[in-house]
Symmetry: C2
Subunit: 214 residues, 2 copies
Amino acid sequence: MRSYGQYCSVAKALDVVGDRWTLLIVRELLLQGRCRYTDLRNGLPGIATNLLADRLRDLERAGVIEREDAPPPIATTLFRLSDRGERLRPVLDALGHWGVPYMAAGPAAGDEFRSQWLAWPASTFLVDGSPDGPPVAIELRTPDGDIVVEAAAGVVRTHPGRAQSADAVIEGDPHLILALLSGNLELDAARGAGLRFEGDAAALTRMQPRVTAS
Amino acid sequence: MRSYGQYCSVAKALDVVGDRWTLLIVRELLLQGRCRYTDLRNGLPGIATNLLADRLRDLERAGVIEREDAPPPIATTLFRLSDRGERLRPVLDALGHWGVPYMAAGPAAGDEFRSQWLAWPASTFLVDGSPDGPPVAIELRTPDGDIVVEAAAGVVRTHPGRAQSADAVIEGDPHLILALLSGNLELDAARGAGLRFEGDAAALTRMQPRVTAS
DNA sequence: CCGCATCCGGGGCGATACTG
DNA sequence: CAGTATCGCCCCGGATGCGG
């Protein structure tokens, strides 16, 4: 990116990560950890492949990501964040938190979705309604992968994969899942819309929208 | 900006503030408060005037800033952040903190500088070396305005303007001021380079670089 | 002078095709 | 699978004009 030419730490940061798509690439690496080129493409619907290659080159030169040749049997290239890149997490957290209100209206026409993107709405918008209760885990199964949403000790967190013991399992359209989690859709209505829900409905009410004047 | 078309709060946030120059406009409004168009231009060296006008329109439509007609005798337009815009402060804080290491090497050739930009290096990179001591204020006088750096109760903060009672006053080249504050330049050397320092040198050593593995 | 609008050249970006 | 190559387009940068 063309430098702003300003001796200011915000401008210098944007010189490095202010290009279009750059912070979304960091998002995917924060969410997924080490990725193949194809994994990144899949997590970044809409990006032009030459742009992804360009950005990965830029980010590597800037010391934000590192390229790693996978061990022999695999024969592929993996990309991962460097320590410096991992330190961008607070930036993504702040941006993701600020952007949550835009999710309330539902996806725009043609919006793509990946289950791992629920991490920010879940961990910054939802709050554990019963901080003193035992931990609760809800497993989400979407067409592009599974993630676990956990409420424990007052906070809600997410991570990819399956839960060891899920209190509830939700399967179906990701938009419906978010509507259900955020309280914009009742369980009965969600079921009527095709969402499959198994397990303890109380696990659902355990997670509540954080009360903020946004 | 063209939407990323992703139902993700980070992407939605970048749909609004991801355009070039946009976050720097927010930076200026966070630092300066209400601004005239000309004030913004002055705080954003390098921006094309049509782009500034475009961005201000976009930000107003997005509800991030608000336009305000100044009271009669003044007859000008003022721009200020809305509540929603003020909530971008954590984003700028995170970015500014992440970018501080890029300041260490000094300004690049042709880099512009404004004194108010010292706010992030001062408040996130410097730390109050004597948390239990009485508050200390250093007044900085640069060609484009004055700012105050205060150390109190363990933290270092800045604000524009003059101090009620400054323990020290530094006047001169902003680059030298930052080098002096960050400990990269000794007081004697700074004086030799043309910096004027008056007051208590202990106020200077009160503020120390935060120890981080950056 | 302040707050823009207009015009124009160059390059970043988007979409698709192609390749080792 | 992991990228290059190519080609338009539109965003951006820089200069200038202009009404209030």
